[in-house]
Amino acid sequence: MRPIENFEFPEDKQALFKRAQRLEVITVFYIASAAVALYVTMGSSQAMRASFFEDVISIIPAIVFLICSRIALWPPNRNFPYGYHGAVSIGYLISSVALVAMGLFLLIESASKFLSGERTTIGGMHIFGETIWAGWPMLAAIAYTGIPSVILGHMKLKLAPKIHDKILYADANMMKADWMAEGATAIGVLGTGVGYWWLDPLAAGIIALDILKDGFSNLGVVTADLMERRPQKTDRSGYETLPEDLRRRVEALDWVKEAEVRLRESGHIVLGEVYVVPSRTDNLPERVASAIDDAKGMNWRLHDVTISVVPRLNDDASPAPDGQS
């Protein structure tokens, strides 16, 4: 088997990729430290136990990114002729499932709390010989654990579309889920403080639904990705224009009468075929080879294309030009 060429990010993207890796390492350490602290202090408290499980789930996308994005860059070989880029989709699948699990977990938690009629009460806490309302240190702890999630999540959300990394995108969603869950806890604490104990499970329930929605929409995208749907933008703002750009570029060549493309995404890169109806056939092998080089040079993601020279385009088999039908 003839493997595809080895893939490396272009120089400017390489810096961004390194940055993403650094962010994820920070995330892993930050969540792990919070989880350890919770585990040590949780005792018999159900709420603390829930927070701990939440942390364990929310660390998954970050770890998956660090592993899968590295595997994706392994060089292709005889046994894996298309390389290891599919690892990104697998990682994205794991992260999406983690997000769904997080939403379900929070939803079940808040629903059972609501149904059991357990009324949250927050009394005093002894600090330095004083007894203060325990809600204040709780809010401080929530702010401490929630604010880094807001910052990290924001940075990842901006970075993910630039390097076309969907695990990073799912992780940005997870960070958002994280700080929203913290926000729900804060609303619950303050609600308890003003005597509305039911605000605690209610806020958590609403936010659980939002997280679940994020989880399912990611799960939908990754399922479609694994079924090789046409390339979509990482931030889901629409389809990639790359296939159409490529078709136009090839059709602009002086020896090409018509062209059609079929592209698929594999992790960070895009692979596919171009079908060309030539208007001239002299020096055809050289012309095809230079067209392939030209195509690969137009976008760093377009890593490998094959050009098939055909007598005419098969209109029956091709969908509408933009593929929406």
Partner: protein, 234 residues
Amino acid sequence: MRSRIAAILIGLLAAGGCSDFPKDNAETLKQLRAGREMKVGVAHNPPWVVVSDGRIDGVEPALVTQWAQSLGTKARVITGPADALVEALYKRELDVLVMGLTDATPHSGKLALSQPYLEVKTHIGVAPGQTPPADWTGQRITVDPERLDLVAQVRELEAEPVPLNGNGTQAPIMAGYDFELERRGLKPTEDELSTERRVMAVIPGESALLLSLDQFLQAQDKEGLKDKAMEALR
């Protein structure tokens, strides 16, 4: 989404009015301060709560009576089986529940527990100068037969629990609280049987009431409480 959360938080704080924070769900503390009688559920659990011949004694009833006084009201004690009291508290038929609860109580979902007001450990004590045996198997260990958890702990060591007799004779080996063993002239050995963090309970949802109780309990002299417990044990 974030601005919405911020708006809710600010709204809640404004609604709460920072001077009067935290608040109760049903204004129990306010009512007690206005002079409503404090309904206190008690169940026998020596030495923390002692109910005998209609007389109520022990560490916790004394504390609650004092707390009620500090709020400007009086405590009325209602005795009953523990389960019924827990249910009554949850349904707001009681304000406070004292029955020698620890923070490990299985009822925690239905109670608003205070901070631990006292941490006590149980040990086996031996006479000073006596070397404790390496293994407690088969040893005769004196235990107050009314304290079932302690009897069970002694049995777990495969030792033989011997009921404490009331005639004041000194037992050579005895299981009990640290302070109890010391006050009986015994030396606690290194084997710890258990650690108990003693708590009381108020109506769940009443954060202001709970904070008031926590503040009152925190101000208590721990050694004084142990002395009081010792009195109840004799």
